[in-house]
Symmetry: C4
Subunit: 201 residues, 4 copies
Amino acid sequence: MEEMKKELADVIRAYHQKGWSPATSTNYSFRLDENPQVIIVSKSGIDKSVFSAADFMEVDLLGKALPAYEGIRASAETLIHCKLYQLFPEMRCIVHSHSIYSVLQSMTNQNEVELSGYEVLKGFEGIKTHDTTAQVPIFDNTQDMPAFAEVLEREKNRLTVPAFIMRQHGTYAWGRNLFEAKRHLETAEYLFEVDWKYKGY
Amino acid sequence: MEEMKKELADVIRAYHQKGWSPATSTNYSFRLDENPQVIIVSKSGIDKSVFSAADFMEVDLLGKALPAYEGIRASAETLIHCKLYQLFPEMRCIVHSHSIYSVLQSMTNQNEVELSGYEVLKGFEGIKTHDTTAQVPIFDNTQDMPAFAEVLEREKNRLTVPAFIMRQHGTYAWGRNLFEAKRHLETAEYLFEVDWKYKGY
Amino acid sequence: MEEMKKELADVIRAYHQKGWSPATSTNYSFRLDENPQVIIVSKSGIDKSVFSAADFMEVDLLGKALPAYEGIRASAETLIHCKLYQLFPEMRCIVHSHSIYSVLQSMTNQNEVELSGYEVLKGFEGIKTHDTTAQVPIFDNTQDMPAFAEVLEREKNRLTVPAFIMRQHGTYAWGRNLFEAKRHLETAEYLFEVDWKYKGY
Amino acid sequence: MEEMKKELADVIRAYHQKGWSPATSTNYSFRLDENPQVIIVSKSGIDKSVFSAADFMEVDLLGKALPAYEGIRASAETLIHCKLYQLFPEMRCIVHSHSIYSVLQSMTNQNEVELSGYEVLKGFEGIKTHDTTAQVPIFDNTQDMPAFAEVLEREKNRLTVPAFIMRQHGTYAWGRNLFEAKRHLETAEYLFEVDWKYKGY
């Protein structure tokens, strides 16, 4: 577990360098195959430029802090992680960004970002050719996390790629391990940027 | 105090890397709870790519160098720091940027940058939801710092978030500690960029 | 060979930092003068942020893994490398990017990117003055690599500079050594960006 | 001299990181007060991502290699350095960039880039207020360096700030030491970028 914390913390700092998490924003989590009932999630309010392995805490599948972490605040958005792990039981890692191009896409598209013909679409698990169209769904932002978790459950069929956008907020992506979650987020963010620049041409 | 100098110097170099302080531009300060009568401020004319803990000096609340630092030039803008600490006595740290998007926003907006609906607005202390509008005020630039300090005092009621823009110059932000000042500046700069790109779409 | 693997791995990670290879995308190769029958090529599916000298494998000129690497998957695009080494026998290194500006250029130009009057054109081997026009050809993307290799052979006369674009995919560039291949790719990417921004003005 | 070589080499690599010198492009020089008859200039054809103190050579005021460096090629543009040191005898350091915004400005302006009202204008030696207008002259690019040196001499009166642009090529800036030359180049590049983005709004 310590190795995995260190690896994810390295990724978190690298993403901060890209501008994906100004100051304390965004949150991340993983689960281990040995004990998928426990979610290891980033603590709330940590500056992502200095995030370290010590800045994780453990919660149960409902987002409640385990006894060893009682009194420490998990991000309010922990409930999003809980719901995603419930909807996709094989998933082991969830990553998040507040990237500028994700936000911009959500301000000029209503329901989804439609992406066609890009080679990098193959970065999404299951896509084998550029000659396809993927839809990354956009959900309205809210501060009511239980309500948002319900939206995710109700509209699960829109999650046809392993990523979605919260409007004017950012991107969530997930995978069966950190490697895959990372690939999915980087794929989404790359496509949001190139597609935004193309449409603004 | 040495620890705090080192931490702020690290932030200054990281902000230079982002392009927020070409060459010797920008200035920064902090105060310690033990002795808030003393402002520890960046010396004038230091290249921010190599700014170190040794590049701070101490001034009093009127901006006058303490005896140990007599003859060393503080930035002319030290008076802005003095006035902000006077207006907001609980503040302990002030940071500054010459970011391109701050300058651009000030060239296309007259009195303020109005920011609505962004999740990252919650980076400003006191804002608890994206479903709000914040105004970051813009003041005309001047080389007459006493006059500018008076403007800040007279228009204090416009400082509804912990940041403002000097036109074609850059952003000032502050907080009760470095952590908070940093969060406020990064929040403002992120929002200026995304909002600029959205409006130019 | 170990030295060369290390050098190219360093370049691969630096290019990842530039955003040219989100997650596991892109591929790279080199050959040694001592044994140009062997192509040392990046293994498939490696995250480019952590690519190391251990992440290369060896294939023959038809792209078949050498016995020591049997069972390890080379990138499907290895066939592009094989064809380029066949068409340009003096070449020793091939580099690739999925840069955003390469993709954008290929979405707004049909057959080629035409670049005129830039000093940096001299980065392409054989060009001695800015006062010239170069055409970087664009080929349609495909997942059928044998077919694409045939296209390259048939249209070799369009390869008047040591680089081409695959549409909505990225740039390939090559040289007589890593130093030259690197120069050609960086030259192409720089020109694609400046030219894109100029045309969008 | 070794210390100064190391410092300038550090700056060269940092500027490469900013994208100001793709591959082997750009060139740099300095002179020492002890012996201003000797120009220490970057060797031709060195990849700027790995430029080190060993990659300088020495030439006389006409650009001829000193005996210890005979047979090593200085950049053709060394003659520009020679002419600038002749025109401004107090200058000790010249830096250069191929930045994208310098090139873009030169493609949309004929004779000069006019910059008004920016605080960062104060980065140019002698400018004390933002409330001014500076003109950075643009000269047509050429491969005929003796001819270009004559143009510089003939039009010296246009060099009212310590920087100029060669069209579709890049920026030269200079100063009485590395610190000042660096400040002048970073000032120019920052202003070119913000001004370009403002005009394209």
